[in-house]
């Protein structure tokens, strides 16, 4: 094979460009002109063109009908995942915001609500503590009445107790009994007049003095003056009479002065009391 002239080698290099229509017009004209007069290049060009054309005849497979279906399915799935992603991004954002803000706020809110309700409850309790509801009050009243009754019974039975200290205790109960009925007054006056123990009589006098608003108690006390033989009780009674400014007591007190057994200290005390009363 004879060596190709420079020009022929250039032509050879341009064959593919020429076949694929990528050769500028001027070069294409000169190439075709050269081919026309150069059999070697013409032969080369022919074989290349043959091959080139044969390549064009190489079968290219047709896309299967399934390709479009698969593509569409893929596209739909992708769209779903994209929208899901966007949704989940949004959800994540919301969740993050919640994490950032809401728990703390909720805690604060809950805390302040608790404080607020505690304050309200406290205020309500303070305002209403002195005036409980009617039913509550009734219950309390019933209960306290029952307790009073029990104390009364206890006191009455205790007053008959042989032990002086038990009787003392019974008398002291009268101070806790708000409403003393006749039974109690009677029992106390009986104790005042008849009890063996001076101390019990003194305490009873004290208790009765507090109940002096009761007319029966006053009367009992005045009548009791004549019955007392203990100087201490006599003197205490005189004091109570002065305190109560009971004029009716002057007569029995004067009678006491005539008693020969009267302690001279008590005598002076009673004289003083009579002076105070009159």
């Amino acid at each position: 094979m004879e060596k190709l002239p420079i020009n022929c080698e250039q032509i050879n290099n341009q064959l593919t460009d020429w076949l694929s229509n990528q050769l500028p017009d001027a070069e294409r004209v000169s190439l075709e002109a050269h081919l026309a007069q150069c059999p070697t290049c013409q032969a080369e060009a022919d074989s290349t063109r043959q091959l080139w054309q044969l390549m064009g005849n190489l079968p290219t497979p047709e896309p299967s009908p399934m390709a479009r279906v698969r593509f569409q399915a893929m596209l739909d799935t992708y769209k779903d995942t994209v929208s899901e992603n966007q949704e989940s991004i949004f959800d994540n954002l919301v969740a993050k915001l919640r994490q950032l803000w809401v728990p703390q706020n909720a805690l604060r809110l809950a805390y302040s609500l608790v404080l607020l309700s505690a304050g309200l409850a406290g205020g309500y309790w303070l305002n209403h503590a002195n005036s409980p509801t009617v039913a509550y009050k009734q219950q309390i009243d019933t209960l306290s009445t029952q307790v009073q009754e029990m104390r009364q019974m206890m006191m009455l039975s205790l007053l008959e107790n042989p032990s002086a200290s038990e009787r003392l205790r019974a008398v002291s109960y009268t101070q806790e009994i708000s409403q003393v009925d006749e039974k109690v007054v009677e029992a106390l006056l009986t104790t005042l007049n008849n009890d063996d123990n001076v101390n019990v009589r003194l305490v009873t006098l004290e208790a009765l003095a507090k109940l002096a608003d009761n007319a029966k108690v006053r009367e009992g006390l005045v009548q009791s003056i004549a019955r007392q033989d203990s100087p201490m009780v006599q003197s205490a009674l005189a004091d109570v009479m002065v305190k109560l400014q009971e004029k009716r007591s002057i007569k029995p007190l004067r009678q006491l002065l005539h008693d020969d057994n009267l302690n001279h200290l008590v005598k002076g005390k009673i004289e003083q009391s009579i002076r105070d009363l009159s």
């Binding site: 290099n13 290349t48 190489l58 290219t60 497979p61 698969r70 992708y78």
Partner: protein
């Protein structure tokens, strides 16, 4: 494609209609595997969606598409190293066969068969530029963009590839003739 990038994913359907056939041709000529090529077409379109933000809008969509297709091919040949360049005779026979057994068509069939084998023997670098140039009818400039090189380099590569193919083809043809004789 810019519309797809902007979020209008349905326009992807138009692109599929327009390009799935040439894409399949490219992948098939590169691999000679029909089924795998069909799969790869789907993969390429999936990647278009997935990487649509990488499409800058500079240059042709086609260049970008073939660029993605080449990456898919690389992945494919990595996965199927053994069968990557296997000659898939069944597929060719499927497409070429069926005609009357006339001498002319017989001869043409043989020629195509030989060309097919010659193509398969080319280095993938050469086969690639020939496929893009001859089958996909891309300009040198476009191929250069796909392969990220200069137009001059592509021109030279196509030329060399063509010479190489011719040589292989003639060798096969001579061998066949010799065998026949």
């Amino acid at each position: 494609m810019l519309q797809v990038k902007a979020g209008n994913i349905d326009t992807m359907g138009l692109l599929f209609e327009r390009y799935n056939r040439p894409l399949l041709g490219f992948l098939f000529h590169m691999t000679n595997q029909r089924e795998a090529s069909e799969d790869m077409v789907q993969t390429v379109f999936y990647r278009m969606l997935k990487y649509r933000h990488t499409f800058t809008g500079d240059g042709e969509f086609k260049s970008w598409m073939y660029h993605l297709a080449r990456n898919v091919l690389v992945d494919h040949s990595k996965q199927n190293k053994r069968s990557a360049h296997n000659y898939d005779l069944a597929d060719v026979a499927d497409k070429v066969g069926g005609g009357p057994a006339a001498d002319e068509s017989m001869q043409k069939e043989q020629e195509l068969d030989m060309l097919h084998r010659a193509m398969a023997k080319l280095s993938s670098e050469h086969r690639e530029v020939l496929v893009l140039s001859r089958f996909q009818e891309l300009k040198y400039e476009e191929i250069a963009r796909v392969l990220n090189t200069t137009e001059g380099a592509i021109k030279v590569r196509v030329h060399r590839a063509m010479n190489e193919l011719k040589k292989i083809y003639l060798t096969i043809e001579n061998g066949k003739t010799a065998y026949k004789l």
